[in-house]
């Protein structure tokens, strides 16, 4: 085929026009279809994945639930395990006999281990050995959510809780590898025989499932405080919405200097420790 200059220019112009038009209509179609897809509640495709917490888009009145731990109050009763007992009883967390199989939602660790970046040889003795309660940080950008292949864990847009659906968990433990806080536990064996007092109203887990703290989303739905917060007699655990300047959590954060675990990783942990 012989192409003269005029023919070539016509073809090139037409191609460019189609490309531009195609891009525009494609975007428009996607934009039109997005609310429909959201309304019908289908959970497939990359758009749905973005809605599952990988994006920063959140509803307007969304909460950002967070936990504030007042270490000064907690330290006064170093041996206290009220929060741990209450949480583990509420959620049927097994007491494994072999420490290798340990399952934990909330636990304690020495200050110098938790904040090892902050530790130095002249750290006040009382701080060095302060037991620090640890739990899932319900990160703003949870690494565990990004790696989960089945969407068994996701960040809830309405309040920022990093949720788990144990029905969907296939036990690949990617989330455990991704979590920089060690907040997730794996059920290496059937947990049932290791639960002393079974809470009839909460499920247990099975072998091969990962579990972690859920900020007691079930209790929150009933208008209650998380079990650990309610159990803490020293009132060292303060729970609230970071978006609400009047919340207890925000007031507590405004009153004292606070630390978070490994903030440099950019996960945006939402458990704060008051010094």
């Amino acid at each position: 085929m012989v192409t003269d200059r005029r023919g070539f220019l016509k073809l090139a112009g037409l191609t460019a026009m189609t490309a531009i038009l195609g891009k525009f209509t494609g975007n428009a179609a996607r934009a039109l279809a997005a609310p429909l897809r959201r309304a019908s509640g289908t959970e497939s495709g990359p758009e749905a994945l973005a809605g599952q917490g990988l994006s920063d888009k959140a509803p307007k009145n969304a909460k950002r639930l967070a936990m504030v731990v007042d270490l000064e109050k907690c330290r006064k009763k170093a041996q206290c395990r009220d929060c741990i007992i209450a949480c583990h009883q509420e959620h049927n967390v097994p007491q494994m006999t072999d420490p290798k199989d340990e399952v934990k939602w909330i636990w304690k660790e020495e200050f110098s281990h938790v904040f090892h970046e902050q530790e130095h040889e002249f750290l006040q003795e009382n701080y060095r050995h302060t037991p620090v309660p640890l739990l899932c940080n319900h990160c703003e950008k949870p690494a565990c959510v990004k790696v989960c292949p089945t969407k068994a864990t996701w960040k809830r847009e309405s309040d920022g809780i990093v949720m788990m659906d144990w029905h969907r968990c296939i036990g690949c433990r990617y989330c455990m590898a991704a979590c920089p806080y060690g907040s997730r536990s794996f059920n290496w064996r059937d947990p049932r025989p290791f639960i002393k007092n079974l809470n009839q109203e909460f499920p247990t887990r099975t072998r091969g499932v990962v579990e972690k703290c859920t900020f007691c989303e079930r209790r929150l739905a009933q208008g209650k405080q998380p079990a650990c917060v309610q159990a803490c007699k020293a009132k060292a655990l303060i729970f609230g919405d970071l978006n609400d300047p009047q919340s207890d959590a925000r007031k507590a954060l405004g009153a004292k200097y606070s630390l978070r675990r490994k903030p440099g990783l950019g996960t945006g942990p939402k458990v704060y420790y008051l010094l």
Partner: protein, 135 residues
């Protein structure tokens, strides 16, 4: 035509037939085939969220739907067709009436040999099961 050893062969055939049809005989004699599952719910309970026929055929779909709505979307209220409101909770709504796994679920599920894995995690109502059936 003549069959050699007719007596032995015919006796053998009869024995073979009797053995092959044994399951039918056995059921007819033992009366087990006439057993019909009889699921029982707790007395004095409110009407179910859907009618019996629907539930008989589709309870698994409803449970799936409820699970996804509660666990994944945080929607917990269910409105029945006649305007009654229920908390979408397996443990705290369903199991309050269907309060005995053996007398309710197992009746049909054993009969139809459909294995349940609900009780691997959810606490079986009325009983505390030790160990799960998980592979």
């Amino acid at each position: 035509m003549r069959i050699y050893d007719a007596g032995k062969i015919i006796t053998g055939l009869l024995i073979f037939l009797a053995l092959v049809t044994l399951p039918f005989w056995f059921n007819a004699v033992s009366g087990k085939s006439s057993h019909v599952p009889d699921p029982q719910i707790a007395p004095d309970t409110p009407r179910c969220v859907r009618d019996k026929d629907y539930m008989k055929a589709n309870h698994m779909d409803l449970l799936n739907k409820w699970r996804n709505q509660v666990v994944r979307r945080g929607e917990r209220k269910f409105m029945t067709a006649d305007g009654r409101q229920f908390d979408m909770s397996f443990s705290r709504t369903c199991l309050k009436c269907h309060a005995n796994q053996q007398k309710f679920c197992a009746q049909c599920h054993d009969y139809a040999a459909v294995k349940l894995y609900c009780w691997d995690c959810h606490v079986e109502p009325g009983t505390i099961k030790k160990g799960s059936s998980w592979r």
